[in-house]
């Protein structure tokens, strides 16, 4: 079917859905703006109380209120900011332990019927070499990723009839079918456009991890401006309730995000919070992860450098830290859009829990690693270009436990069975145990000598000691599985 016809038919179906939508829009622009305005000059005691409350919330999983987040966002005092950064790091370590889960994005298609002003994949970008991967190309890409050590992917798709729900299902099945030596992809998350319930059901049935939809901006007027009329993405309501529909279709691991730089970052923070609250209210399960990509230059997308809301590095650090305080149980994803030094700083200051590494975002980019970055095939520019192994080495030097854990969703710890673990800050017991086992597997199969040395002699002993001190019974089982991993048995996990 021609893309234009497909788009028209789909737009008609979306309009019908909007007319019968049972949900009330949970984003009140005026209220959010007022909350930010009335807390313009917070006093020190007020901020300190909120920081203390954020610490208490760790064991209950409660979120901060919108007015409290507005206060944090308006805080100016550098000393208070130090306290916020320190708290973000403490919350992350308390909930998830000191591990960083590693993943890679895999761009499957750049064909898109939309025309978003900030995106290199927009329909009117004449310089874009729009394409989608066929089965053989997917296999080649996944082999490269597996052979570098990856176990977890996020598969990214443009909105186009060539990359519809059926293509998503086929490509995920292909990804899971690839085995290279002793490696495989064990968890495939999805970043794709909002779907209808029947499409979500199809996608759910191929065994995906998390379904991720970024609202891009929660500010209605800005949303309309950057997503032109006559495109599918123009409908705010369709997108903002995209994850509600996913949940109704039985997908219970869902992820939200904002593209910072389109509108005032303080407003967007509150938008994320209201979205998390709406999901919790409706389904009792909040977002599995929150992502906070920032506008970076993209080919033929001038908005990416000219927006008046571009976020400075300093403010970006604040955003990441506030997200950690406001929603303590949620995974926090910092991507390779950001530069090495900034990422290295924000991991700690922001309480980050997941990061991509060795990233290529061009279609077919992993199979053509030697060509470095392929701008005419990319959605935006990557700033952290370290290899996975170099990235892991840097994490080890800082004392982190690099983790390739994908155990949770394979052990039935999904949705309502996962949330209490994160909300009561006990999930770290599994995180550290599975982090040790999967890192050991990496050391055995893929690591360079320098990573193997620091991993075997420092990182693994340190975290084994942590488990022995905190979960002695689990430690015995970890030691047993570690022994099995050392004798080349794979996929040991809890």
């Amino acid at each position: 079917m021609l893309a234009q016809k497909w788009k028209e038919l789909r737009a008609e179906e979306i309009r019908k859905w909007e007319d019968s939508c049972k949900y009330e829009d949970f984003i009140d622009d005026r209220l959010i703006t007022e909350l930010i305005d009335i807390s313009k000059y917070p006093d020190k005691k007020q901020v300190e109380d909120i920081i203390a409350k954020a610490r208490q919330n760790v064991s209950s999983g409660a979120m901060l209120s919108p007015s409290e987040v507005a206060v944090l966002a308006n805080t100016q005092d550098p000393q208070l900011w130090e306290a916020i950064f320190e708290t973000a790091d403490w919350i992350k370590r308390t909930v998830y332990g000191n591990r960083i889960v590693l993943f890679a994005p895999l761009y499957l298609s750049s064909m898109c019927v939309n025309n978003c002003l900030y995106c290199g994949f927009k329909n009117t970008n004449a310089d874009l070499d729009a394409q989608k991967l066929n089965r053989d190309q997917i296999v080649s890409e996944v082999e490269v990723l597996i052979n570098s050590g990856h176990k977890r992917l996020i598969a990214v798709y443009g909105e186009h009839p060539q990359s519809d729900a059926e293509y998503i299902c086929q490509s995920v099945e292909t990804i899971y079918s690839v085995h290279s030596d002793c490696g495989e992809i064990r968890r495939c998350n999805i970043n794709a456009s909002p779907m209808f319930e029947n499409e979500y059901k199809q996608i759910k049935d191929v065994g995906i991890g998390t379904y991720q939809i970024f609202q891009e901006t929660y500010h209605h007027q800005t949303y309309s401006k950057v997503h032109p009329r006559d495109t599918l993405k123009h409908s705010y309501k369709w997108r903002v309730f995209g994850l509600h529909r996913a949940f109704e279709a039985g997908i219970d691991d869902i992820a939200i995000g904002v593209l910072f730089g389109l509108y005032d970052w303080k407003f967007e923070l509150l938008g994320l919070l209201y979205h998390a609250m709406a999901l919790e209210k409706e389904f009792g399960v909040g977002p599995h992860t929150i992502s906070y990509p920032r506008l970076v230059p993209a080919e033929n997308a001038p908005l990416t450098t000219m927006s008046k809301y571009l976020v400075s590095d300093e403010d970006f650090s604040k955003i990441v830290a506030i997200i950690r305080l406001m929603c303590p149980y949620t995974g926090s994803i910092l991507t390779a859009r950001e530069s090495n030094p900034l990422r290295d700083t924000i991991i700690r200051k922001g309480g980050v829990s997941q990061m991509d590494a060795g990233t290529r975002i061009g279609i077919g980019g992993y199979s053509q690693m030697e060509k470095e970055h392929l701008l005419h095939k990319e959605q935006f520019i990557i700033n952290d270009t370290r290899s996975l192994d170099d990235f892991i080495y840097d994490l080890c030097k800082e004392g982190y436990l690099p983790s390739f854990c994908t155990a949770g969703y394979r052990e039935g710890r999904t949705g309502a069975n996962f949330m209490p673990l994160a909300k009561h800050a006990t999930v770290k017991n599994f995180c550290v145990a599975n982090g040790i086992l999967t890192f050991k597997e990496y050391l055995m199969d893929y690591a360079s000598p320098k990573v193997r040395e620091i991993g075997e002699n420092h990182v693994i002993p340190n975290y084994l000691q942590w488990i022995e001190q905190n979960m002695p019974q689990l430690a015995v089982q970890v030691e047993e599985k570690l022994g099995l991993t050392a004798s080349q048995q794979h996929d040991m996990h809890f």
Partner: protein, 91 residues
């Protein structure tokens, strides 16, 4: 999605089974590729190794216990009917 009635019934059933066989945590999950999609459970996470078995083509039963090993086959037999009912409802 399971109906509220089913959830209540299965919850009660799991509670009974757990008490009888000293299971600290017991739950059903649906097999979807690699994913084991949580359906309904009883008890609390113990942070010890999960045991599991497939009861039907699509339903897995996970459990954790600190008690001595028991006859798994007996549990499997006790769960079969309810697992079939679960599977039927999900289909």
């Amino acid at each position: 999605m399971l109906s509220e009635d089913s959830l209540v019934n299965i919850d009660y059933f799991l509670e009974t089974i757990s008490q009888k066989y000293h299971l600290d945590h017991a739950y059903f999950a649906r097999k979807i590729g690699k994913r084991r999609h949580f359906l309904v459970g009883y008890g609390n996470e113990q942070f010890i190794e999960n045991n599991h078995f497939d009861i039907t083509d699509n339903i897995v039963f996970f459990w954790q216990t600190r008690a001595d090993l028991f006859d798994v086959q007996i549990i499997r037999d006790s769960l079969l009917n309810i697992a079939r009912q679960l599977e039927q409802e999900l289909n």
